[in-house]
């Protein structure tokens, strides 16, 4: 009898704890995804919370891939409403979403991010090309006879006689980072394409081409400096010979200590990235789960705020934070998509 009552009270206490946690309905937007988009999403979230009667959305920085997994987990309060992405959603992710009932997604391209190769302001600026970057950082490069050899270049002068005679030292993000993916794809592969032999390989063996054109050398010339871009900025000031790879917003905020090097003759400036002249830039996206628009308050209003001219426009507050706005016609298109909850179609997928 006494023992029974004792066990009973323990069970009741445990059940009350569970009940207390599951009773409340969610009234706050939840955003997950890319750490590159995080600085922009959070600014919009804060402004949205400040100027409307809705609660400030919660923004988690999980990385693009991790965010897509959470976003595509299903429909309902337990799952995120909006996903930030520093690349376009993949076919496999759309399929994952669909298999969990997330079929109605709206895609909004919010602007561009330039990836800069910066050095300390104490160093002399170097004029790089994509070909230089490939020759300096790729794991294997074509020898004069066309065969692939492990990258023998130790100094920038080995890469090109016009470059200074200093050791190749590039601090950049680790492979888990979306910035690294974009750097490999845009900078390394861009330089790789300048070799006709490798371009021809693409037709023959796509996988071998990718492996060659997107692999970074692992002999210490490329130094993985972690996800924290501030750290790279600090290390650059300490080592004027090194180059750092990070997003444009960090260059923008630290213009007194670091400078961006030109790539293919184009400086990584706001105007050059916006016009597309700067070769290493990528689009940033947010994906909205339309099934939640009725159950979670404020999603429509939030996307309206995000796509308003005062946010992602040419002189919007996101531009102050380092986001490079998309051209006017694209902004108008994506604003219309967002307001009309246009469903993402896969046909556009490349």
């Amino acid at each position: 009898m006494r023992k029974g009552r004792c066990v009973g009270s323990v069970v009741v206490a445990a059940m009350m704890m569970l009940w207390a946690t599951s009773a409340t309905a969610r009234d706050q937007i939840r955003i997950v995804g890319s750490s590159t988009v995080y600085p922009f999403s959070t600014v919009v979230a804060e402004e949205f919370g400040r100027t409307t009667s809705f609660k400030t959305p919660i923004v988690e920085s999980t990385g693009t891939g991790g965010g897509m997994k959470l976003f595509c987990g299903g429909v309902g309060e337990d799952h995120a409403d909006i996903s930030n992405a520093s690349r376009r959603i993949k076919l496999s992710e759309v399929e994952l979403c669909a298999s969990n009932g997330v079929t109605d997604i709206t895609e909004v391209m919010i602007g561009f991010d330039g990836i800069v190769l910066a050095s300390s302001t104490k160093a002399k600026p170097t004029a790089l090309t994509l070909r230089h970057i490939f020759l300096a950082l790729a794991k294997e490069i074509p020898a004069p006879n066309g065969d692939l050899v492990p990258n023998p270049n130790q100094t920038w002068r080995d890469v090109d006689p016009s470059l200074p005679d200093v050791k190749i030292e590039v601090l950049g993000p680790p492979p888990t980072s979306g910035t690294r993916d974009a750097f490999n794809e845009l900078a390394l592969e861009g330089g790789c394409k300048t070799f006709p032999g490798l371009e021809a390989l693409k037709e023959v063996d796509k996988n071998a081409y990718r492996a060659t054109c997107r692999s970074v050398r692992e002999d210490g010339a490329y130094i993985e400096a972690g996800e924290n871009d501030n750290l790279i900025v600090q290390k650059l000031s300490a080592n004027p010979n090194a180059l750092g790879v990070f997003g444009y917003s960090f260059l923008d905020q630290n213009a007194d200590t670091v400078q961006g090097n030109t790539v293919d003759g184009v400086a990584p400036s706001f105007e050059n990235i916006a016009s597309g002249a700067y070769p290493i830039s990528r689009s940033l996206y947010i994906y909205i789960k339309n099934a939640h628009a009725t159950s979670i308050p404020g999603i429509r209003e939030f996307t309206a705020e995000f796509t308003s001219e005062k946010a992602y426009g040419e002189y919007g507050y996101l531009a102050d934070k380092g986001l490079i706005p998309a051209p006017k016609n694209q902004r108008d298109k994506y604003r219309a998509d967002a307001l009309g909850s246009k469903q993402l179609r896969l046909a556009a997928q490349d």
Binding site: T21, E60, N228, Q253
Partner: protein
């Protein structure tokens, strides 16, 4: 009787032994200095760490403000008296308070006419100035039509300039502030319209993407709520498990297996507990993401083995004579534990618990998995509200591009260290006050 002493005296004075003695003294001396050197280098490293954090961080506790004469313009706000009381608040929320701040600045600098000039002028004040002016009007609707002088937070760039973190001698292109803006700041400063004062916002507001508005109150509250859950879960369970294992459980193969497992659990990396929390609390029990109750439960699981181990050691330290005396006087096993063993073991248990809690306070890895590493502006009000924790706030700020967050990061570290020192001091105090010696 005298023979041996003479013999030994002669032996001690022999040159070979003298040399050996010198060698022994020398190695003794070297050994002592190696020890002192080790401590000195540890202290030096610690001082360097604390010194750099403190020098970076103290400026976070100060904030630059600008005094503006805000005219609550009827043309901007609209006529509130014409509206019924219930609609006034909505009308105020809709009003463009940026226009009021622009108006106040334009009145001071009438020469600035161009659109970009006015924008540059407005960017001297923080985005928080708008909400501050709005809150003034919400508190007193009768302000419409009147001019009120008020201190509003300055933009983080102005703040850094006034604190001397950014220098003026750089070329204009390398600076975040233009020459014109610096001229305006100096103009305002000469009039006494700029002051640097104690940063109350840092202690009273939640996170923000504007360094001048960012505060640690949300993170401190989140940490507090999380630790309450951790304590409520881990302490009773840990003590109960320890009492059972020490006092009641038979010494069998099973208890040995359990004991070994508990010791192993205490050494498991904390991220593993985060994954467990993700799978059990979020995946299986569908508890809300980012909530202190989930974070607390996860950290509770992490702290539990530590508390069990400490509590067992404390209980074992209570002499058996106490138990035997109590049993001899007719106390039941429960009375022996509740009236004698536990009170005597409590100082040790509490010390261990506080140290376990201090470790939980500094933990970020498990919180990452359950969504507490997030941008959360609203200060959490309950165990199920989304919240973050102090070390997480440090991590998030350290990753932000804005220069102003460097000092905020160090400031938050100082606050975290203060809490840790307080908790450890409480542990030492408790031990000295309550400890019984046998």
């Amino acid at each position: 009787m005298t023979e041996p002493s003479v013999a030994s005296a002669s032996r001690w004075s022999s040159p070979a032994l003298q040399a050996r003695l010198r060698r022994r003294h020398r190695s003794e001396c070297v050994f002592r200095w190696v020890g002192i050197g080790a401590i000195a280098s540890a202290v030096a490293v610690l001082a360097l760490l604390l010194g750099s954090i403190a020098t970076n961080g103290v400026s976070a506790f100060r904030q630059t403000q600008v005094r503006l004469d805000i005219l609550f313009d009827r043309d901007v706000i609209g006529d509130l008296t014409a509206l019924p009381t219930v609609e006034r608040e909505d009308a105020i929320r809709r009003a463009d308070f940026g226009a009021l701040i622009r108006g106040a600045l334009s009145a001071r600098f009438p020469d600035v006419k161009s659109r970009s000039g006015v924008r540059a002028l407005q960017s001297l004040t923080s985005a928080g100035a708008r909400s501050q002016v709005r809150d003034m009007l919400l508190a007193d609707h009768n302000l419409v039509g009147r001019t009120v002088a008020t201190w509003v937070p300055a933009d983080d760039e102005v703040d850094l300039l006034q604190k001397g973190t950014t220098t003026r001698d750089l070329p204009e292109s390398a600076r975040r502030l233009t020459d014109a803006q610096i001229g305006w700041i100096d103009g305002l400063d000469d009039e006494g319209r700029i002051r640097t004062t104690f940063n109350t916002l840092f202690f009273t507001s939640g996170d923000s993407r504007e360094p001048e508005l960012a505060g640690i109150y949300g993170a401190v509250t989140g940490s507090f709520l999380t630790l309450i859950v951790t304590l409520a879960l881990a302490f009773p369970l840990g003590v109960a498990a320890a009492v059972h294992l020490e006092e009641f459980a038979p010494k069998s193969r099973w208890t040995t297996v359990i004991e070994v497992n508990i010791n192993n659990l205490a050494a498991v990396p904390s991220i593993v507990f985060g994954l467990l929390g993700l799978a059990v609390f979020l995946g299986f029990l569908h508890m809300p993401r980012s909530a202190p109750i989930v974070g607390g439960a996860t950290l509770g699981l992490m702290t539990l083995p530590t508390i069990i181990i400490v509590a067992r050691a404390a209980i074992r330290a209570v002499p058996p004579s106490i138990r035997e005396a109590a049993r001899g006087l007719g106390a039941s096993p429960l009375q022996v534990v509740a009236h004698h063993v536990l009170p005597l073991a409590m100082p040790g248990i509490l010390t261990g618990t506080i140290i376990g809690m201090a470790r939980a306070l500094g933990e970020t890895a498990p919180l990452l998995m359950i969504g507490m590493v997030a941008f959360i502006v609203d200060v959490p009000g309950s165990f199920t509200d989304a919240a973050t924790a102090l070390p997480v706030q440090v991590f998030l700020w350290a990753d932000s591009p804005e220069r102003g967050f460097i000092e905020k990061t160090s400031g938050a570290i100082l606050v975290l260290l203060a809490f840790l020192v307080l908790m450890n001091a409480a542990a030492i105090g408790l031990r000295q006050k309550l400890e019984t010696r046998w």
